[in-house]
């Protein structure tokens, strides 16, 4: 699942003119470390929802990779 998440994140990064990352860590901050802006975060929610059926922002803001994984795992 983490590999799939990495693919989604890299897809968003490259289509927004950023470089790919080779790996993601649980403590990575989406905005500070991965350079996500609001629109990129919105894309992330759409992609994760269509892949896993989970709305990761439905009860508050997510800042870290670990929080996404917790949400997906339910």
């Amino acid at each position: 699942m983490k590999k799939n998440l990495l693919e989604i994140i890299n897809e968003i990064l490259t289509s927004n003119g950023h470089d790919e990352v080779t790996n993601i860590n649980d403590n990575d901050n989406l905005r500070d470390d991965l350079k996500f802006d609001s629109l990129m975060l919105a894309v992330l929610t759409v992609e994760i929802e269509s892949e896993y059926g989970v709305d990761i922002f439905n009860d508050g803001l997510i800042t870290k990779v670990s929080e996404i994984i917790t949400k997906i795992n339910g």
């Binding site: 897809e11 289509s15 609001s38 629109l39 975060l41 919105a42 894309v43 929610t45 759409v46 992609e47 269509s50 709305d55 990761i56 922002f57 439905n58």
Partner: protein
């Protein structure tokens, strides 16, 4: 004098309508749609006419019409007798009725295109001289280098159009005079123009106003009962200069992306400029972060990877307009009046 008109090559006399509509065996073979056209003509002659609105933005409403209200924009001319009308609309809807009446009252030919395949429709254009349809109808028809040289009059309405559509229509219908109309089942035709823009004229400024960029019409021209003096159509305009405006769609169709209002029609017009896109439908999907985000269903002329489409969309659209979800579909859902069904 008895009216005679033709459905495809069948000569129909009004005095024979009951004969065709009855159970007796008739000597010509009419399809259900062609019989429906005859039924409509009969209801017109007996002045008992009722239509449903298209229901593009809600539940369809039933609206009563009269011979007078239906024929106020019908042109009668001896020269129109030899015309061949293409009926792209459902005969049960007001837009279809206008095409049928043009044909019937001028004793000319009508060919049904509604519900036909693209191939059949294209073949019918070998004889059609007059055509009326929605922007969606034309977009789905215009492919590659195809030219419809027989058409001398082309009318479009029912949905907002854009510059991109006008240049494509001029290319694919090189001999046609193009007329853009703004009409509805509830008040008939209000504006017509040769371009994508309209203007309020001296003829209609007593019953049409633009208030807060919305088209508002006086109750005297609305065909159903309303309490207020002015009826708010919900159709928004954008001014292009001091007198001309274009219709940009309904306020309720706007997508609010994190506070930025996105007009789906404008985004569709931009997307449709891509040479590999046949047609597009842009809509909002709920998003917990932004309120809504933009999504699109695309019909492509030929396959293109989504990654490449995304890159093109980023190039031609503002960042908040870029569809975050792209669905490649074989065709768009279209209602019986030929308009895209908007969720």
């Amino acid at each position: 004098m008895d009216n005679v008109f033709l459905i495809d090559k069948n000569v129909i006399k009004y005095s024979d309508l009951d004969h065709y509509l009855g159970n007796e065996k008739v000597d010509i073979n009419l399809s259900d749609v062609e019989l429906g056209i005859l039924l409509f003509v009969k209801s017109f002659k007996t002045n008992k006419i009722e239509f449903e609105t298209s229901g593009t933005t809600g539940k369809p409403k039933k609206i009563k019409h009269t011979q007078e209200s239906l024929t106020k924009n019908i042109k009668l001319d001896e020269k129109l007798k030899g015309c061949v009308w293409g009926l792209s609309y459902d005969f049960k809807k007001i837009a279809g009725s206008q095409v049928i009446l043009q044909s019937y009252l001028n004793c000319s030919t009508i060919i049904n295109l509604f519900g036909k395949s693209k191939k059949e429709i294209i073949e019918s254009f070998n004889t059609i001289t007059h055509i009326s349809g929605t922007p969606t109808f034309y977009r789905l028809l215009m492919d590659g280098d195809i030219k419809f040289k027989n058409v001398v009059q082309l009318t479009l309405g029912g949905e907002p159009s854009g510059t991109e559509l006008f240049s494509k229509l001029s290319y694919h219908f090189p001999n046609a005079k193009i007329t853009n109309i703004y009409a509805s089942t509830e008040f008939g035709t209000l504006f017509s123009s040769r371009k994508e823009y309209f203007k309020i004229t001296e003829k209609n400024n007593t019953f049409i106003k633009i208030i807060n960029d919305e088209i508002v019409v006086h109750r005297s021209v609305v065909l159903h009962n309303i309490n207020d003096e002015w009826y708010h159509t919900g159709d928004k305009v954008e001014w292009v200069d001091d007198v001309h405006f274009k219709i940009i769609g309904r306020e309720t169709n706007m997508i609010n992306v994190g506070g930025m209002k996105v007009n789906p029609i404008e985004v569709e017009n931009k997307i449709n400029k891509l040479n590999y896109v046949s047609s597009s439908y842009v809509y909002g999907i709920k998003n917990s972060l932004m309120g809504n985000v933009v999504s699109t269903d695309l019909v492509l002329k030929h396959y293109k990877p989504i990654r490449e489409i995304k890159a093109d969309l980023k190039r031609i659209l503002n960042s908040y307009e870029v569809p975050m979800k792209i669905n490649l579909v074989e065709k768009l859902k279209i209602n019986t009046t030929g308009k895209i069904i908007r969720k």
